[in-house]
């Protein structure tokens, strides 16, 4: 049995369901792996993988791209969601917000990464507003701050915080990024270091195939998958896990139009990378905007799939 | 007249001082003698209102016939250790009692400075205590006590660190000062010669009683030879006592 560690991008949620399913249904064990899912911590999963503190990492799309642009030696192996799950949310009580242009001059609860500014700026500008707003960096506290009205808007994951807000009856509205000039993209990458890929391809293959089997099973058995997830972690509200699984299946996030799962498609991958580079948020050591590297095909690798 | 009646001091049940009664007239020097460890310092501390935590006292204190409680503002006290503050200069240390009494720094300084020369401390006004010899420190503490001009003065072995000549000089300064400004002095000393030379009455603390001897000779007539019999008498009283 080979020990393998996986770092998560956020506290355990339905995005990770395939990994938990593969672990708790013994798929990893069958593949000769002992997988440890590291608890979510203050250290980003991209950094943990890049530094070798974890073998695999579940990364949000933006964390992956930022790390790549920063020079991290990462390769994406998997994309959980076939479309962008992120949205901009605001309180409906805030009647002055009707459209992204109305966000101008308001307060945003952020997560402390450069691309958020590009995203929000693009949406406001695309909608004809002045791209000026105030950012309060709150991280995981963002959603409580929005709920209490301390800030005007933030970004959420539709299949998690979005479902949660609905269950709690929070009156919240949202704008989809892709409706306001931001390209659609995958979300939720599983990545590893290029070095691991080179030196231990058989481990990568074994891990990813079991993971894929886990997501496949979860897509087919959302109710049971939710129960499995509930056993694996502390969840304040069990109904959120069930509702979120249901939303993922209903929304067709996991399987693409042709029924494929975990696929990385060149156009969506490049589209978002291009957006990041063009918006100038990525800087090099001397503070210059990064130049488009051209070919991105080396940034992801799905050769482990047969 | 300062009067102690039936003072008993105990430490953890053991009594250090037993039913002591003592009177300190408002004029002249009352010397308090006794073997080392017999409780002289403890009596003075009680009078000054600063008996240490471990000790318990029972007794009555009367000032001019009226009961009162220590600490009396009418008292100035010189402890057996000099207790000079290391962060104050000698002049500031000497002025401490006056400052506490409410004088301004300048007034206190003006009152203190003239005494430095007669005390042999000229030049040390701005020095800190650690730069002074033991005898100099003791004189600074004596200065601090005497300048306070209180009605009563409690002195705990004020000259123990002084050489014979400096001691004589300080003794005669004290007598002159008292002649000019009469006050009541309670002087603890272990030096029989000093007691004989200075005191108007001598109290010897013995285990079970207090012996009081009046000394009526004028100070000028107290030569070493003239006082020899008194000294011998005191010595025999002290010899009677054995330390516990």
């Amino acid at each position: 049995q080979t020990p393998v560690t996986v770092a998560l991008d956020w506290t355990l949620n339905t995005n990770h369901v395939g990994i938990i399913a593969a672990r708790d249904r013994g798929l990893y064990e069958e593949a000769g792996l002992t997988v440890e899912v590291l608890p979510f911590s203050d250290t980003s999963s991209a950094a943990l993988v890049a530094a070798g503190a974890a073998d695999f990492g579940y990364l949000s799309a933006l964390a992956f791209l930022s790390a790549k642009a920063g020079g991290a030696d990462l390769t994406a192996l998997w994309a959980t969601m076939q479309h962008e799950t992120g949205r901009l949310v605001y309180n409906l009580d805030n009647t002055e917000i009707k459209r992204p242009a109305d966000l101008s001059g308001r307060t945003y609860a952020g997560f402390g990464s450069a691309w958020e500014a590009a995203l929000i700026g693009t949406m406001i500008r695309h909608d004809g507003g002045q791209p000026e707003w105030e950012t309060v960096t709150l991280g995981t506290g963002a959603y409580e701050a929005l709920a209490s009205g301390a800030v005007d808007f933030t970004l959420e994951v539709a299949t998690w915080e979005g479902v949660n807000g609905r269950l709690l009856g929070r009156r919240q509205g949202s704008f989809r990024y892709q409706d306001y000039g931001v390209p659609d993209q995958h979300n939720g990458y599983i990545a590893t270091r290029a070095g691991v890929l080179r030196e231990r391809p058989e481990i990568v293959k074994a891990f990813m195939e079991a993971t894929k089997a886990g997501y496949d099973w979860a897509a087919d058995h959302p109710e049971e998958a939710a129960d499995l997830l509930l056993k694996a972690g502390d969840f304040a509200r069990p109904e959120l896990v069930h509702a979120s699984m249901q939303a993922i299946i209903d929304g067709g996030w996991l399987r693409d139009e042709s029924g494929g799962i975990g696929l990385i498609r060149a156009d969506r991958f490049e589209g978002m990378a291009r957006f990041l580079y063009d918006s100038g948020v990525l800087k090099d050591q001397s503070g210059q905007a990064l130049v488009w590297p051209g070919d991105l095909s080396g940034w992801y690798d799905q050769s482990w799939r047969d | 007249m300062l009067e102690i009646r039936d003072l008993t001091i105990t430490a953890q049940g053991r009594s250090l001082v037993q039913d002591l009664s003592l009177q300190v007239p408002g004029q002249g020097i009352t010397a308090l003698l006794g073997p080392s460890g017999c409780g002289k310092t403890s009596v003075l501390k009680w009078l000054a209102g600063i008996l240490p935590k471990g000790l318990r006292a029972r007794g009555v204190l009367r000032l001019d016939g009226r009961d009162c409680a220590a600490p009396l503002p009418a008292l100035a006290y010189q402890p057996q250790s000099d207790a000079l503050f290391p962060w104050l200069t000698i002049a500031e240390n000497a002025a401490l009692g006056l400052r506490v009494g409410g004088l301004s720094a300048a007034e206190a300084r003006a009152r203190v400075l003239p005494l430095f020369a007669p005390f042999g401390l000229q030049g040390s006004e701005g020095a800190f205590p650690e730069a002074l010899s033991g005898g100099m420190r003791q004189r600074a503490a004596f200065l601090r006590t005497m300048v306070q001009d209180s009605r009563y003065v409690l002195l705990d072995e004020p000259f123990s660190a002084l050489d014979a000549v400096t001691r004589l000089r300080m003794q005669s300064w004290l007598l002159d000062r008292l002649a000019a400004h009469p006050r009541g002095v309670l002087l603890v000393t272990h030096d029989l010669q000093e007691a004989a030379a200075l005191a108007d009455r001598i109290c010897v603390m013995m285990r079970s009683r207090l012996v009081t001897l009046p000394v009526d000779l004028p100070h000028s007539a107290r030569s070493e030879a003239a006082m020899a019999p008194l000294r011998e008498h005191l010595k025999s009283l002290l010899l009677e006592e054995r330390l516990p």
């Binding site: 930022s66 402390g112 960096t137 506290g141 209490s148 050591q285 | 290391p86 401490l96």
Partner: protein, 250 residues
């Protein structure tokens, strides 16, 4: 001047070792950039980082000043009333055992993103070392000193002012030094939990952009701010020192 040379030399040596390690081991810049890279990043971003540094200072200084005043006042009250000390001190100590990582986000929730929660956090972190040092300093006052003043008819405050406080002076500055060391760091911490600007925000976004060099540039600025504060305190201590009274005395 020459008193500063040896620590400077040691610092340079440490930096040289660090730079050498980075070059020779070939460790990734993402994980551990060398000091030269950090200084370079600091230089390039000096304007942006300066704005953040200012924001941090404007929280840390009032917080620290309030904390020290509060600690001095409290110490005097507790000294005057030992019974209160016995009741209150455990509560203060317990307040220090609350993990900030848990408290900071809650404070932001309760009090918003303004100055208040951050200043409260700075006070929470820096208050106790000063208080404890003062109380222990007060207790070191030689009994002979307080007794002497008592015999002079000094009141409680007069005794405090003339004997207890000067005796506690070295302990007070020792406590100040400990607290000052934490003042900036605590502010950065508070910013981490929610703020508009500040070195904490700088470090957080640098971290999220995988720029260890910018993270460490923030760390360097934080260290410099703290060392400046310590130097100022040292200056105050030396300037207000009465003679050579710092020594113990038997």
């Amino acid at each position: 001047m020459s008193r500063m040379l040896s620590p400077l030399a040691l610092f340079l040596l440490l930096f040289a070792v660090w730079e050498g390690y980075c070059r020779l081991s070939g460790v990734s810049e993402l994980v551990l950039p060398g000091p030269l890279a950090v200084l370079h990043a600091l230089y390039i971003h000096r304007d942006a980082i300066g704005v953040h540094a200012l924001a941090t200072v404007l929280v840390a200084l009032p917080g620290f000043a309030l904390s020290v005043s509060f600690a001095v006042l409290t110490s005097m009250l507790l000294h005057a009333c030992p019974r209160a000390e016995r009741a209150v001190l455990p509560v203060f100590v317990a307040s220090q055992t609350i993990p900030l990582v848990a408290l900071a986000p809650l404070m932001i929730l309760w009090f918003g993103f303004g100055l208040l929660p951050k200043i409260l956090l700075v006070i929470l972190v820096t208050f106790l070392p000063v208080l404890l040092s003062l109380l222990s300093g007060y207790r070191q006052t030689p009994a002979a000193f307080t007794e002497l003043l008592q015999s002079m008819g000094a009141g409680g405050f007069e005794i405090f002012r003339r004997a207890t406080w000067p005796s506690a002076r070295p302990a007070f500055f020792a406590g100040l030094r400990i607290s000052a060391t934490y003042a900036i760091v605590a502010t950065i911490f508070a910013e981490y939990a929610g703020a508009r600007q500040g070195i904490g925000i700088w470090i957080l976004s640098a971290k999220n952009s995988f720029r260890a060099d910018l993270v460490l540039a923030g760390v360097v600025v934080s260290a410099l701010l703290t060392l400046t504060l310590l130097a100022v305190l040292r200056g105050i201590e030396v300037l207000t020192r009465p003679g050579r009274g710092g020594r113990g005395h038997a």
